[in-house]
């Protein structure tokens, strides 16, 4: 009993120390953010409001300190925050006017071929973009899969005000690479412009679904061929491995589509499609290799960060990606499959080893009792 009391004291102090240096210290050091929200309208407006509230607080603080220069800069920051909120609200209000259901894909294709094609391609539908390298800074994305992995409202916001929707306005302002398309810029009637946007998104969705089908069929064919050759495996194992390979290929493809123009994945032998020096000149520094991000940042951080990059890394040149919840889960799954490839083995083996020591402990206790029966 006495022994048990001593053990409790040791365990309590150990737990207290652990709590202090791990959960508690990290909760103090980590920025607290709202969880990822895939309703991008809500996310952006809430985020702008939160910044506004912070700036108001900062102004009050500066006023209380009675420091004139601080008050002045706090005032400026507050004005900027107000402006930003107004911009976000205006943008999302115009997105709300678009009727996505009325989009006409074939008209969208015609629009795509006269406007978007100046930079973007849709290779799956046989459309080559005019710009095929990263000389502008980054390779303009081919949009074959865009309708599938990106949120439709986000795509509309992106078309209307790219820098703001991508959250890179702080870096590029109005000089952002992609030119906006909206009624104001084109001089068309607002309904016409909105209809065009709805059409283009309908078109992207249509080819996105076909693109995905095609990709899956091709992957299936490749895998069938691969597993047909592996005759030494039994059918059950084959099926499991086949399914794993298939999921991995899908996740990897989503990663390439969403992240692969800028980021490397060295541990999966993938190199970013844009040239390194172009990216550096464009963004200010080279985007990091993502091989170990799952271990260095963890699942939760990655989800929040991809959803709204400015939330966790204020001022970063990385755009908000705007992918759907499903596509983001797939991208993070890929990061984990590459960066923490032994997770499954670790967790199953861990249980076996612990089980081994539980059994060994039983024998050890019996042995100790036998020997000590002569001593007490």
């Amino acid at each position: 009993m006495r022994e048990f009391k001593i053990f409790l004291v040791v365990a309590c102090f150990t737990a207290l120390t652990y709590w202090g240096v791990e959960p508690y210290a990290h909760s103090v050091m980590k920025p607290h953010v709202a969880p990822a929200n895939f309703d991008f309208e809500q996310e952006d407006i809430n985020f702008a409001k939160k910044i506004l509230a912070e700036k108001e607080k900062a102004l009050e603080l500066a006023k209380a300190e009675n420091n004139e220069t601080n008050v002045e800069s706090a005032n400026k920051a507050l004005e900027l925050a107000k402006e930003n909120l107004a911009k976000q609200e205006a943008l999302w209000a115009s997105v709300a006017k678009i009727d996505f259901n009325s989009g006409n894909a074939s008209e969208g294709k015609a629009f795509f071929e006269t406007n978007c094609v100046a930079c973007h391609g849709a290779k799956f539908d046989g459309i080559e973009g005019a710009i095929t390298d990263s000389s502008l800074g980054v390779l303009p994305p081919d949009l074959s899969s865009a309708g599938l992995i990106y949120d439709e409202k986000f795509l509309a916001a992106l078309i209307m005000n790219p820098a703001l929707a991508l959250k890179v306005d702080h870096k590029f302002g109005d000089a952002f690479l992609m030119t906006p398309y909206n009624a104001e810029v084109s001089g068309e009637n607002e309904d016409v412009a909105n209809a065009n946007i709805a059409n283009v998104i309908a078109y992207l969705k249509e080819i996105g679904i076909k693109y995905q089908e095609d990709f899956e069929n091709k992957t299936k064919a490749l895998l069938d061929e691969k597993y047909a050759k592996l005759t030494e495996l039994d059918e059950g194992t084959k099926k499991v491995l086949w399914q794993k390979d298939f999921e991995f290929a899908k996740d990897k493809n989503n990663f390439i589509e969403a992240c692969g123009r800028c980021h490397d994945m060295k541990y999966d032998s993938f190199t970013a499609v844009s040239a390194k020096n172009d990216l550096k000149a464009y963004l200010g520094s080279n985007p990091p290799d993502l091989s170990m991000m799952i271990r260095s940042r963890g699942d939760e951080y990655l989800h929040n960060f991809i959803n709204n990059t400015q939330k966790l890394l204020v001022g970063t040149a990385m755009p908000r990606v705007g992918i759907t919840e499903e596509a983001q889960a797939s991208v993070v799954a890929y990061l984990e499959k590459v960066g923490d490839s032994k997770k499954e083995e670790r967790e199953s083996l861990g249980l076996y080893i612990m089980g081994f020591f539980v059994i060994l402990s039983i024998f050890a206790i019996a042995w100790k009792r036998k020997i000590w029966s002569k001593l007490h």
Binding site: R2, E3, I6, F7, V10, F13, T14, L16, T17, Y18, G20, V21, E22, Y24, A25, V28, M29, K266, Y267, P288, D289, S291, M292, R295, S296, R297, G298, S341, K342, E345, R346, E347, L349, G350, L351, I353, M354, F357, V358, L360, S361, A364, I365, W367, K368, I371, W372, K374, L375, H376
Partner: protein, 412 residues
């Protein structure tokens, strides 16, 4: 030459040549341990087991590790963690054991302090143990650099910089330790040498000395009773195993320790496979980058208390710079425990709960060490800086002033 006869078995064959029976008797069967002990007396054997784990997994890791700033990160995170069979297991075991061994060292040390096992004939056990602690610290620090992640690099930057505070030769000393003006490839290579060669050899030698130092004064017991080991051992040998106050190291003591090791290993592998972030900081999975300072730089948890003593003195006093005061306090914190047998002025050897004021002193020290540890990690801003300062002052006062005073009273 001894008279060699035809052996009746392998043990006999070896015994005629190596006297293995006599050796076993001296080392194990007739090495006497007090009977009245609790599970805290198992920490020594657990430490030996953990060191063995570190040694063996370390050997496996060296087979794939590359001590070169261009290759180190990938050799650890790709080759070892993903390509070599069970490489991840060896690395996780190595990393977690390195962290957990310090937890056990602290428990072992505090046990020694609580039961007064550092004095009256046991000073050399204490000093060799403290030497082990210091060399283990160097071993842990040099090992932490090897993956060449962000924390490896910046911890090396901060720690090697400390030597710049040494009077007169500081700047030259820093360059000598780094092997370059900045932390770079030669720094990594020499710390690799220290980690896999020199320091392990030194550790093994001190461990042998630590064990040897136990032989003459013997292990302390739960009530710090002074035993006549020869008499008690004779009792045991005469068959009065229940009446004797001692037990043989083998099999009695080890059977108990083996039980504790097995139970401990369940917990250890839980940490290795499911809860390893405390020992393998996520930030260290970012490759080292001299141009990107991490938002928070902190050492591993087991260095936090002394790190907090270092930065606890955050303001200049008169013409003395805060950095120098902190460094001096840090220097004292590193060596002060060596002097414990002499800072304790009393010759009473009893567990703390039988020593009145010393008992209170012990728990205040423990709580202060935990406060230092926690605040050593938190950012040193606002109130945190003052708590750190207070805890640092309390730490120094407890050991340099309070302990000698209360123990001198105790003697009277």
């Amino acid at each position: 030459m001894a008279h060699i006869t035809k052996a009746n078995g392998i043990v006999d064959w070896l015994d005629q040549r190596l006297a293995v029976k006599k050796l076993m008797n001296v080392l194990m069967v007739e090495y006497w341990i007090p009977k009245q002990i609790n599970f805290l007396w198992a920490m020594g054997v657990i430490l030996t087991v953990l060191f063995t784990v570190l040694f063996v997994t370390g050997l496996l890791l060296v087979m794939y590790y590359k001590p070169d700033t261009a290759l180190a990160f990938d050799s650890v995170n790709k080759t070892i963690m993903q390509e070599a069979d069970y490489g991840w297991l060896w690395r996780h075991m190595h990393g977690v054991a390195a962290s957990v061994i310090f937890l056990i060292i602290y428990i072992h040390m505090l046990t020694g302090i609580y039961y007064g096992s550092y004095k009256k004939g046991r000073e050399m056990i204490w000093i060799s143990g403290m030497l082990l602690f210091v060399v283990f610290s160097a071993e842990a620090f040099s090992g932490y650099m090897l993956p060449w992640g962000q924390m490896s690099y910046w911890a090396a930057q901060v720690i090697t910089n400390l030597f710049g505070g040494v009077p007169f030769i500081g700047d030259a000393l820093v360059i000598w330790i780094r092997g370059d003006y900045a932390v770079s490839d030669p720094t990594l290579t020499r710390f690799f040498m220290l980690h896999v060669c020199l320091l392990p050899i030194v550790i093994i030698m001190i461990i042998a000395f630590h064990f040897y130092a136990l032989r003459i004064p013997h292990v302390n017991n739960e009530i710090a009773e002074e035993l006549d080991f020869d008499l008690e051992a004779q009792k045991y040998k005469n068959g009065d195993t229940k009446g004797s106050k001692v037990i043989p190291f083998w099999p009695a003591f080890l059977s108990k320790d083996f039980m504790y090791i097995c139970l401990f290993m369940i917990f250890f592998f839980y940490l290795v496979c499911f809860k390893f972030n405390f020992a393998m900081d996520p930030i260290n999975f970012d490759p080292a980058d001299a141009l990107k300072t991490p938002a928070h730089i902190y050492p591993e948890w087991y260095f936090l208390w002394s790190y907090e003593v270092l930065r606890g003195f955050f303001f200049d006093i008169g013409s003395i710079k805060a950095f120098d005061i902190g460094l001096a306090a840090f220097g004292i914190a590193q060596v002060i425990f060596f002097l414990l047998p002499w800072l304790d002025r009393s010759d009473v050897v009893k567990p703390a709960h039988a020593r009145g004021k010393f008992f209170v002193w012990f728990w205040i020290l423990l709580v202060d060490l935990i406060v230092l540890t926690v605040y050593g990690k938190l950012p040193p801003t606002g109130i945190n800086a003052w708590i750190g300062f207070g805890a640092s002052v309390v730490f120094l006062a407890l050991l340099l002033v309070v302990l000698p005073l209360i123990t001198r009273k105790e003697k009277e």
